[in-house]
């Protein structure tokens, strides 16, 4: 497709379960970002990839959060031992070039609910 695709669109998990969220960026885009958006708040930065290299993971809230982009295209955000405070929308964005200030193209997110 022409845009950033995220799957699943909705995910419900029980507390303590592991979840994996997928992001398919726009083909050829070098940069990939993950954000967490709580209800009524703006997106909060989690991590940044330049191709397959994870250059910045300073926004990951705990060591239960892990992201990878092994071949420089598709990325997966994994959350281990989920907790209720992990409930949020997880947004993925990609941009053509490197850097934080390039216009970012966002997917519509995965809404994660932890019961």
């Amino acid at each position: 497709g022409a845009g950033v695709s995220q799957s699943p669109r909705y995910k419900v998990a029980k507390r303590g379960q592991d979840v994996a969220l997928r992001c398919d960026p726009i083909s050829g885009h070098v940069s990939l970002f993950w954000y967490q958006q709580a209800l009524g708040q703006g997106p909060e930065f989690l991590t940044y990839f330049q191709n397959e290299a994870q250059l910045d993971k300073s926004g990951l809230p705990s060591d239960r959060f892990f992201a990878e982009r092994p071949e420089g295209s598709v990325s997966t955000l994994k959350i281990q031992r989920t907790q209720q405070e992990d409930s949020a929308v997880y947004l993925c964005a990609s941009s053509l070039n490197t850097g934080y200030n390039q216009p970012q193209h966002f997917g519509d997110g995965t809404r994660l609910s932890i019961l």
């Binding site: 950033v4 970002f33 954000y35 708040q41 703006g42 997106p43 909060e44 930065f45 940044y48 330049q50 250059l55 910045d56 300073s58 926004g59 947004l91 964005a93 490197t98 850097g99 934080y100 200030n101 216009p103 970012q104 193209h105 966002f106 997917g107 519509d108 997110g109």
Partner: protein, 112 residues
């Protein structure tokens, strides 16, 4: 990291011009100003970006005064479909560090 301040909400009517001002008093020399629009259940959408003076594209204009301590997003002749949350971001070029903060945004409601 430059902090931004925007009004929480604004109301307007169809056909009017909407101006949203963002304050960023501690903007750094290499910081750019970027605006995004977000509809419910969708990801943010890039609107416009600028460094100084005025930038215009097919959907909006961005006015940045000489001191760059604020910026104004101008949406001409809004329609009901412009009802959304608008975010102002200030951040540098480069690839080091956690430099992107969306903040709470401005909720714009366009009324018929």
């Amino acid at each position: 990291l430059a902090k931004t301040t925007q009004p929480i909400s604004m109301d307007s009517y169809e056909g009017q011009e909407v101006n949203i001002t963002c304050s960023h008093n501690n903007i750094a020399t290499n910081d750019y100003i970027t605006w995004y629009q977000q509809f419910p259940s969708q990801g943010p959408r890039f609107i416009i970006q600028g460094y100084k003076t005025k930038v215009t594209n097919e959907v909006a204009s961005l006015f940045i005064p000489a001191d760059r301590k604020s910026s104004t997003l101008s949406l001409p002749r809004v329609s009901l479909s412009d009802t959304a949350v608008y975010y102002c971001l200030v951040g540098p070029t480069g690839t080091a560090g956690n430099k992107l903060t969306f903040g709470g945004g401005t909720r714009v409601l366009v009324k018929p």
